[in-house]
Symmetry: C2
Subunit: 308 residues, 2 copies
């Protein structure tokens, strides 16, 4: 099935306790599409400036990411500069230069206006709706958002949510969006806002999936070598959506597998700076880690005489 | 198999966003033993003051907790006063009055000195060793500890760890003990300090188990009704050890089931103040939640054509 992603393409400068990197390939659409590319072709809608290195375009194209929707505008590419604390859980934004991304008005190529699946990266909810307006109703519309829009453009975000089937947020965002401190209650509240399904990402603690009465709880892969958490959430969503697009199914067991696939892709991308780990990652490694997560989460039924 | 716990018995005054309670039954040995009692008899070693209500003793005895090792000394019972923030993850200690617990020198009744399993609650590591000195080597010695001892009595704690088979800590404590920010690396370091096995408790995010090359990752039950997190860790350990004592086994699959049993007991105790939820809890409910965790963590193998 065809899969379109709309989001940012950026040059990231990142400091972690383990080192630093200047102007590396980043952005939500970049991480998403590269992650999804392990499962099939992806179409990327975004914007870059004149300074965007052609080698990055070549890399994305080599991964099967179709760049027909990537506009190149006069000016500089979106730049993000951040620093992570020693436990890698806390990020500090040191500088954000939107540059050409400030005037981003996503426009889908005419040939892309009947996508089977659409992922709206974390951009202004007005723009997210403008994308939905451009397409014939896809089989699945998924979206990401963040605290900035939840507090700053709440009404617009609520309008967008009415047109979204599946929402990805982290647990703090879920609590903030629902105004409810308990994450299970928050999830139930969000499922009344439009989406039929919700993925709550919890970083190194895994993810929760809610849809109707269905709940799925996934652990994250216990990683001894976390290095740069940038892009983990978008890589999660990319693996998840790429897998769904490949299978063509959206039933409960498939959604569960997609969550685990997402955690696998996220666990790999944080092993190196930028999305460098994806440059060497093989399908065999993805399969291997998926199988490993099955082994390390397995436990048997409780025996009949297990209690007093 | 016989199971002995040594730890605190306290009267807790707790404020949560949902209400407050004065001088309720608390303490590590109390939570541990009541939780373990769902799986068989437990022997408790601790101390209380003259003010300790006889109704609490009656309750513990009614649960099958043997109080032969509970000393009653002149003075007041250990009192702890705390407040939880709205997300229940952050606890503030408002007041600690050790009272008779300040002079606690655990002494096991002569008939209890050949326990099959021994749990050393979170007390001074000197005292933990004094308990091990009193018994013939049990089949399993497990211990809990905390940041206070890790920083304040590190050498003594390291001596204790050499005599412990299984250690329970939370993730911050694991990092602190090992001086390593990555929890997987921290776990590997701790397994060189004496314990053959380690449980890292992560509260609402579940638990990790490490032993040799074995890793088990357990989710917590996604609870819509968390109310008072006091005693969750000790209830986890009590369910875990009670289940092991019942089965008489310590193989890998049994340890995994014990972890899940522990998360089940912890998930129940936080539903009400103090250990009130254990007053009404039934084996049927424990079984039910265990089965529910199996359902909500299940996912299938990846199909051969799941990747590009």
């Amino acid at each position: 099935m065809s899969l379109v992603v709309v989001g940012s393409v950026a040059l990231d400068s990142v400091e972690t306790p383990f080192g630093k990197r200047e102007a590396a390939l980043g952005g939500s659409a970049t991480y998403f599409s590269t992650s999804a590319s392990f499962f099939g072709p992806v179409r990327l809608v975004g914007v870059v400036g004149e300074d965007f290195p052609v080698e990055h375009e070549r890399f994305l194209a080599s991964r099967g990411v179709d760049l027909l929707g990537l506009a190149r505008h006069k000016g500089e590419t979106f730049q993000w500069k951040g620093r992570y604390e020693y436990d890698l859980n806390t990020a500090h934004t040191l500088d954000t230069r939107l540059n050409v991304f400030a005037d981003f008005r996503p426009e889908l190529p005419p040939a892309w206006r009947e996508p089977d699946m659409l992922f709206l990266g974390n951009i202004d909810p007005d723009l997210q709706r403008s994308v939905v307006d451009q397409v014939r109703r896809p089989r699945l519309v998924a979206a990401d958002t963040m605290n900035f829009w939840i507090s700053g453009k709440r009404q617009s975000l609520l309008e967008t949510l009415k047109r979204v089937d599946l929402l990805f947020v982290n647990d703090a965002e879920a609590r903030q969006l629902a105004g409810e401190s308990n994450v299970v209650k928050a999830a139930r509240a969000i499922l009344t806002m439009g989406p039929q399904a919700l993925v709550v990402k919890r970083g190194e603690h895994g993810a929760l999936y809610f849809s109707g009465n269905e709940v799925f709880a996934a652990v994250a892969y216990p990683l001894p070598s976390a290095f740069d958490p940038t892009g983990a959430g978008d890589s999660f969503a990319g693996g998840f959506m790429g897998y769904l697009a490949r299978t063509g199914r959206q039933d409960g067991p498939t959604m569960r597998k997609a969550i685990v696939v997402g955690t696998v892709l996220a666990s790999f991308v944080v092993e190196e700076f930028s999305l460098d780990r994806f440059r060497t990652l093989t399908p065999h490694e993805i399969r291997g880690r998926y199988a490993e997560i099955r082994r390390l989460t397995h436990f048997d039924e409780l025996e009949p005489d297990g209690l007093a």
